[in-house]
């Protein structure tokens, strides 16, 4: 039988909620950055346990949701090539491109495979020397190191039939972009625990200082999230702002040094378009010039594909915390997981999908 999980203990959850209620004297708007946290909050109903003064804003930390339409269309263009085995993490397959999604392309005969690690794609390339194996590198700093490792090994092995379509994005620049937005409402952040396990949290110190905003690095279980909120609200109520680490069982200030070194060796920081948020300076990772020959955008000449985001989907406002999913007129009517208008309805970590699944 499943062991009782101390991070989901109902009594601890109740105590933390009482503690939060006891220190809350005025309204606060706090953003959880990571989609995993959003999913956990909605699934466990944590927002319903909080005092009414606390508003949780669901942040842009779902990699599936923020990957731009251009990248999906590039992926589709590459995957449609007859010589290609296209490898992706599972939840990218349902994200709609401008015409269709990867699942539909697979049904039409494209060789598209779900992998659990970029290294699986590398193995596929070794096993299929007559095929071009392409890995779709998506995600934040959490998944970027394993993509970097695959690129590094491909170079070591001088693999000619392997390449990577890199759509990786970075968290700190999008936090800055949200705080710079003229109508921004966020007063405190729960930092994304898994990203910080790789990157540490030293990058957040200048953000917290410059914007005068509390940032609490937080895990994903109910108890983690409520502890993170407690620390954040305590700072807000006492007029402080600093970086705190709730998730110390996984996160150290300096993060995972070997993973960071590998990323530096393989990637360069670039500007990137985010779905719903637009272009954000220094917010993306791309292969650097040493790895150019493993860049799928160049190998398959798709770098010129640029697609306009559709106007009907308001996921940009959802991702900025300006709109709750259920406030969107299309929510659960024209926009459903079977027929998503935007990516926030696709991924299990997207705010719209979480509301659709648990809140109707």
């Amino acid at each position: 039988m499943a062991q009782p999980n101390p991070y989901r203990d109902p009594a601890t959850v109740r105590k933390l909620c009482q503690a939060i209620a006891a220190i809350t004297t005025q309204p606060w708007r706090i953003m959880e950055v990571c989609g995993g946290q959003t999913h956990s909050i909605i699934k466990h109903g944590l927002d319903q346990l909080l005092p009414p003064e606390i508003t949780l804003i669901h942040g842009p930390g779902c990699p599936v949701c923020v990957t731009s339409l251009s990248f999906i269309d590039k992926a589709l263009a590459i995957a449609a090539q007859p010589e290609v085995i296209f490898c992706s993490f599972g939840d990218m397959l349902r994200v709609p491109g401008s015409q269709l999604d990867l699942l539909a392309l697979k049904a039409q005969g494209a060789d598209i495979r779900v992998v659990y690690s970029p290294l699986d794609a590398l193995t596929l390339a070794q096993q299929n020397p007559n095929k071009q194996v392409v890995f779709f590198g998506v995600g934040f700093e959490t998944t970027a190191p394993s993509t970097a490792l695959a690129a590094y090994q491909a170079k070591q092995l001088q693999l000619k039939n392997f390449s990577l379509l890199i759509a990786h994005v970075r968290v700190p620049p999008v936090m800055r972009a949200l705080l710079d937005a003229p109508n921004q409402q966020v007063q405190g952040f729960l930092g994304a625990g898994h990203v910080c396990a790789i990157m540490g949290y030293h990058e957040y110190l200048p953000i917290s200082a410059h914007y005068g905003i509390p940032i609490v690095v937080t895990g994903f279980e109910p108890v983690d999230i409520l502890q993170g909120l407690y620390l954040c609200i305590k700072q807000l109520e006492t007029g402080k702002h600093c970086v705190e680490n709730q998730y110390s069982r996984a996160v150290k200030e300096q993060g995972n040094a070997p993973a960071q070194a590998l990323m530096q060796q393989v990637f360069q920081v670039v500007d990137r378009n985010w779905r719903g948020l637009g272009r954000i300076a220094d917010s993306g990772l791309a292969l650097n010039s040493d790895y150019a020959q493993w860049d799928a955008e160049q190998r398959f000449a798709v770098s010129t594909i640029t697609t306009q985001e559709p106007l009907t989907c308001r996921s940009g406002e959802v991702l900025q915390g300006l709109l709750k999913p259920a406030q969107c007129l299309e929510f659960a009517t024209r926009c459903t997981p079977e027929h998503p208008l935007g990516a926030t309805m696709v991924s299990s970590e997207g705010a719209c999908a979480a509301y659709y699944r648990y809140r109707r």
């Binding site: 944590l46 939840d91 349902r94 697979k106 049904a107 659990y116 997981p337 079977e338 648990y358 109707r360």
Partner: protein
């Protein structure tokens, strides 16, 4: 070709079939409801039970069929042969039938090792023998290499339903207790860990088992079972939601009551999957009047396939569309929804 009218209330979003159409979720319901069932609509099919119930000369027969498509063919806790027998026996059992005869159709891919086929046939025979049924007719086809995953098996089965037994979604009543016989998601996770080559140190075995013996024991003791459903593709969530819709009622489920093996829980958390939606092959829910709960649990606990049996919820009220609500450990109520298609492992 007979002339039939396709009744298409919902537009299909896809022009081609995608894998999710077979995933047991909403897309599959859409495909069945718009393309497949309307072509054959009749009252027996429309009952949407695990088996068709046929009244022939005063005798009630249960009739069902299922195809088995699984990679790998051999897995911890069973193989495609055992699965093909147990799965069909279970579909018969869920209508309260005592299974009698099975058919077996094989679609074999060129290149399959004869030794593997022999092993699978032996495993089918063993499962049939243990259940006391005979495999009495069949068919064998061979397809070219690349046109199949080694072996596909279809089995059909017939069984006899006792006069007094009347089990169907339509008989679910407000106040019924919902009981589960075993822990969730072991089959799906065992297959996934074997198939995807995930390095995960686990001894998880599929729960693949014939439930017909257990069900016959329950019926023989006079238990007034209103409905049963084995929780295969789509898992517990899909099974409950389908029954809530078919019986037009609200089921209220106590989430912490659900038995889940620690290894299943860990693997699900690593992969970002929800055990509620993962397939089982020896797991079923039964609906009994609250007055018979104790009797049902005591019978279940005496059987090897029912040792972990427990009440997981009850039928609260009638509801026009059907609804399943969960009471979470945190004391929050939320709805349980069908997935669109298959669960896809998340990115991070």
């Amino acid at each position: 070709m007979p002339d039939f009218k396709l009744n298409c209330p919902l537009p299909l979003q896809y022009q081609h079939v995608v894998m999710a159409h077979g995933g047991g979720g909403r897309l599959m319901q859409q495909l069945l409801g718009t393309v497949i069932r309307p072509a054959f609509a009749n009252p027996i099919l429309d009952a949407q039970h695990d088996s068709a119930v046929l009244a022939i000369n005063g005798t009630k027969l249960a009739f069902t069929t299922d195809s088995y498509v699984i990679k790998p063919l051999f897995f911890a806790g069973g193989d495609i042969g055992k699965l093909a027998v147990c799965g069909t026996l279970n579909d018969l059992a869920m209508s309260g039938a005592k299974p009698l005869y099975l058919s077996c159709a094989l679609i074999i891919e060129e290149g399959l090792a004869i030794a593997d086929l022999q092993r699978i046939m032996a495993s089918m025979q063993q499962a049939a023998q243990q259940a006391g049924v005979l495999l009495v007719t069949g068919d064998t086809k061979v397809v070219e290499r690349g046109c199949g995953d080694g072996l596909y098996i279809n089995t059909a089965g017939i069984g006899l339903i006792a006069e007094a037994v009347n089990i169907s979604p339509a008989h679910i009543q407000v106040g019924d207790h919902i009981i589960i016989n075993s822990d969730l998601a072991r089959h799906g996770m065992a297959i996934m860990l074997a198939r995807e080559g995930i390095a995960f140190d686990s001894h998880l075995q599929s729960d693949c088992a014939d439930l017909s013996g257990l069900v016959q024991t329950l019926l023989a003791d006079g238990l007034d079972i209103h409905c049963m459903r084995d929780l295969t593709r789509g898992g517990l969530a899909s099974g409950l939601i389908e029954l809530a819709c078919a019986s037009h009622s609200t089921f209220d489920i106590d989430e912490p009551a659900l038995p889940i093996h620690a290894d299943v829980q860990s693997a699900c958390e690593i992969l970002g999957l929800d055990p509620w939606y993962i397939a089982n092959e020896g797991c079923f829910v039964l609906f009994v009047p609250a007055t018979q709960t104790e009797q049902a649990l005591s019978l279940l606990h005496q059987h090897p396939l029912g040792q972990q049996a427990c009440v997981i919820g009850e039928v609260k009220q009638t509801h026009p569309q059907g609804l399943v609500t969960l009471q979470t450990a945190m004391g929050i109520s939320r709805v349980l929804d069908l997935l669109s298609g298959e669960q896809l492992p998340r990115i991070c």
